[in-house]
């Protein structure tokens, strides 16, 4: 039978506020256990929540970025369940009246095509703490530093049809929240986590099949792999005539398989009801418009602008626009050199390679966007050839030079990279090459006219080897002239 895959994602993004959603404790990552858990976060008797205005502003900002309806009246509810990392025995969240309603985003696929994926809703809620199972003699340790960190949970429509689309959607959401500056996007620290709902149905069938939920997947690659593994598992069961059990599963990246979670097996009855300690959150059009005025250019419009105004290919544009900092780096350099294509090639080539090699982020790269712009400008005015530019760039990436623009000129000089364009000097070098390689000259002269263009190659190589930084075009011209003089 032919199966259709149905995927919906729930993405939790931690909002980059300084303090927690309902308390004045810090949200910084990595503090010693329970040192950033105040009385409110611990759920001590008698404590009360007060809502953080920045969490609200960030959620509204997100809603506007995905063209969503903004809830002018949103309400916090209590979701009741017992778990040791949930101090109050309920999570404060938004069920019926979320801050962000229906919206949509455009995802970019590997072939450069795009698709619209609808977002059902996004709501504010508090994060739970962390359970640590190692190091306590068979007991579990509870750290509540993360408890109360503001989250926005973004729920997609079940519109994705394969794992690649799901990964592209997660990537795009990552790109949007980091562009907006509302989430640091650090997947390794759990700043963004993804629950994947996966089901299969016979192609052509309207109703959905039974779904499973893969909890807390925390990388783009694992979203894709986890979903693929789960599709395979479900398909095997269905092909054998079996039934899918609706359950929560975990992805084991080492084994590349999903397994049912042992806890939370009991069907939970969350007993949602409006939180009586918090009042309805009311915002007006003026508030929304003020937030709207602070929206930056978002990845989709940036991508379109790169294609339409600057002639980049859709794939290049999508890659460069996907990351806010990378896009900013690229665009700063491109503007300085006034050549977007040249800058695009460099950022996707040498710059990306350097980032991988050095294992740093774009903001940590020793070569600033201004400096790259300067290097590229030196190519444009023929001071450097491409090879020389690469050498300067690599030297700087490896820590030679400083953060000034002048250091580039110093390096170009000291490394002897300045391109020789003076044809007199080049003629002398070429003469020497021809004198030193009589056999090559003989061979060249024996080559028929129509194949000589190719046969000139070795002379170019030798000339450039003899003198770094010679302008290749001038070399070619001089060689042609000299060789034709010889016959």
């Amino acid at each position: 039978m032919e199966w259709e895959v149905v995927i919906g994602l729930e993405i939790h993004a931690q909002l980059a506020t300084k303090s927690k959603i309902f308390s004045g404790a810090a949200t910084a990552y990595g503090a010693e256990a329970n040192t950033q858990a105040c009385a409110v976060d611990l759920g001590l008797p008698g404590v009360l929540p007060v809502f953080n205005e920045e969490a609200l502003r960030m959620a509204v900002k997100f809603g506007l970025a995905i063209d969503a309806e903004i809830g002018h009246r949103s309400v916090f509810d209590r979701k009741n369940y017992f778990y040791p990392d949930l101090p109050k025995g309920y999570q404060t969240t938004q069920l019926h009246h979320p801050i962000v309603g229906k919206g949509h985003i455009e995802i970019e696929l590997e072939d450069g095509s795009t698709r619209i994926i609808n977002v059902t809703r996004a709501h504010l809620e508090e994060d739970a703490g962390k359970s640590v199972h190692e190091g306590f003699n068979g007991m579990t340790g509870i750290d509540l530093n993360r408890a109360g960190t503001p989250l926005i949970e973004i729920v997609s429509e079940p519109e994705m049809r394969n794992a690649k689309e799901a990964a592209a959607y997660f990537r795009k959401m990552h790109s949007i929240v980091t562009y907006l500056g509302i989430c640091d996007g650090d997947l390794s620290q759990g700043s963004m986590r993804c629950d994947c709902n996966v089901s299969l149905r016979p192609k052509g069938q309207q109703e959905f099949g039974t779904r499973t939920e893969i909890k807390n997947v925390n990388s783009f690659r694992n979203v894709e792999r986890a979903i693929e593994a789960e599709i395979e598992r479900q398909m095997d069961i269905l092909e054998d005539g079996g039934k899918i059990v609706q359950e929560t599963r975990l992805y084991d990246a080492d084994k590349n398989e999903t397994r049912a979670m042992r806890s939370k097996e009991v069907a939970n009855d969350y007993r949602y009801f409006p939180c009586p300690d918090l009042l309805p959150v009311i915002i007006d059009d003026e508030y929304v418009n003020n937030v709207r005025a602070t929206l930056p250019e978002l990845p989709t419009s940036k991508r379109e602008r790169f294609v339409n105004d600057h002639g980049l290919s859709p794939v290049d544009a999508a890659v460069l626009a996907s990351d806010r900092d990378l896009a900013h780096y690229f665009e700063t350099a491109a503007k300085l050199v006034n050549d977007y294509k040249l800058a695009a090639n460099w950022v996707q080539g040498d710059v990306s390679a350097a980032l991988n090699r050095l294992e740093v982020s774009i903001n940590e790269l020793p070569v600033s966007a201004q400096q790259l712009g300067r290097i590229l400008s030196l190519i444009k005015d023929n001071t450097l050839n491409n090879g020389g530019a690469k050498e300067v760039f690599t030297a700087m990436a490896d820590g030679k030079g400083d953060d000034s623009l002048e250091c580039i000129d110093t390096l170009v000089d000291s490394m002897g990279l300045k391109q020789v364009s003076d044809s007199g000097a080049i003629e002398a070098i070429v003469d020497q090459v021809l004198t030193d390689n009589p056999k090559l000259v003989e061979g060249y002269l024996a080559t028929p006219e129509d194949k000589r263009a190719k046969a000139i190659g070795p002379f170019i190589g030798l000339t450039r080897k003899a003198a770094k930084g010679v302008n290749p075009q001038v070399v070619m011209d001089v060689l042609k002239k000299k060789l034709s003089e010889l016959g």
Partner: protein
Amino acid sequence: MHNKTIAEISRDLAAGEYSSVEITTELLSRVQQLDSEYNSFITVTAEQALAQARAADERRAAGNAEAWTGIPIAHKDIFCTNGVLTTCGSKMLSNFTAPYDATVIDKFNAAGAVSLGKLNMDEFAMGSSNESSFFGPVANPWDKERVPGGSSGGSAAAVAARLVPGATATDTGGSIRQPAALCGVTGLKPTYGRISRWGMIAYASSLDQAGTITRSAEDAALMLQIMAGFDARDSTCMNQAVPDYSASLNNSIEGMTIGLPAEYFRDDLSADMQQAVRNAIAEYEKMGAKVKEISLPNAHLAIPAYYIIAPAECSANLSRMDGVRFGYRCEDPQDIEDLYKRSRGEGFGGEVKRRIMVGAYALSAGFYDAYYKKAQQVRRLIKNDFAAALQEVDLIAGPVTPTPAFRRGEKTSDPVEMYLEDIFTIALNLAGLPGMSVPCGQVNGLPVGLQLIGNYFDEARLLNAAHQFQQATDWHLQKPADI
């Protein structure tokens, strides 16, 4: 000295009649001698009280005394007090030394008041007889076989027994007004949002409100003056100006319109009780008030609506009592579920467990609309009834309780019978309005309370009306024979 009211103590301290240390010592020794009979205190903080009293006397000697400097009171054990055992009347918190102060405690500390300790109460403020306390029942000073009412039974009994001149208390469905009525003292439950709930252990968050139990309306005004006001730590605490409550106490009430809800004077109120309340109304008429019959047509729905809403809220509020971060933990838990179930099963008493279960049931899938949503809709109808009535009258008056204090054990077999004790008080909490209980007579030698209900944030008018009644009558000065 122990018969003095807060207002009198304030004047006496200012006049140098005695020191704060003297009156504190006197009251502490009364507590020590007599409270074994009443069981009104759970914790007596004698050392801290004397230290506070000494500091108050020093402040006075330095010329920096204010109205509250050195006045001894005590607090319901529902308010968190930093470094002091805070039990909420429960085994669950029987080992809980609170690590912070409730705003109410903070304010009394800042005003220079002296705290003698923490007062007994029904477990987690659930009860109308103070029989559900893990620390044992409280005796009514008028008849020690009888209950003092609840849940603020310790507060009412301690004030009635002249162990303290005033006490803090809380009221979720009548927990200030009912014990005040049964103990012949003055209870004030302010508007919801008038006083911060920060540090007040939650029973039902949308209904809970702190207030006072004193021996006069004049003292209630003095206590409310300290407690009322905005608190940034409580989202439900309103930013409303706090008037000078004492300043309007002596205003004339001539021309004031008092509404009598027909629903509060029916068969469920005995002839004796009716008479006591009617006599009080007649007193108001003598003072120039106009009386008007009004109707609260949905009054009979208040108890059923309350017994959905309060249990639903408490079922979530008490989930944090899980044996993980504070409070009681069962012996040798086998796994996390065992830890939860036994810590909670052993740590909570029967009434608390009942209400948690009712709440969990009412909120569970499939029942939400029929129970919780319905109750919230009825809540609006009840609020609308009051709003309509208060368009026509300045105050509403009626009984506080259907009967005077009942015997211990009389209503413990059927919880519903106990719930009906709050038939006249509960609607007020659903609407969030302020109310008072003022002693207005006796039936069979036991005190009876008059309930006064005012408009939102109109505590000044309530206190004014109560004070005027106490100027014209002496019911509030009556005390148990052996005191």
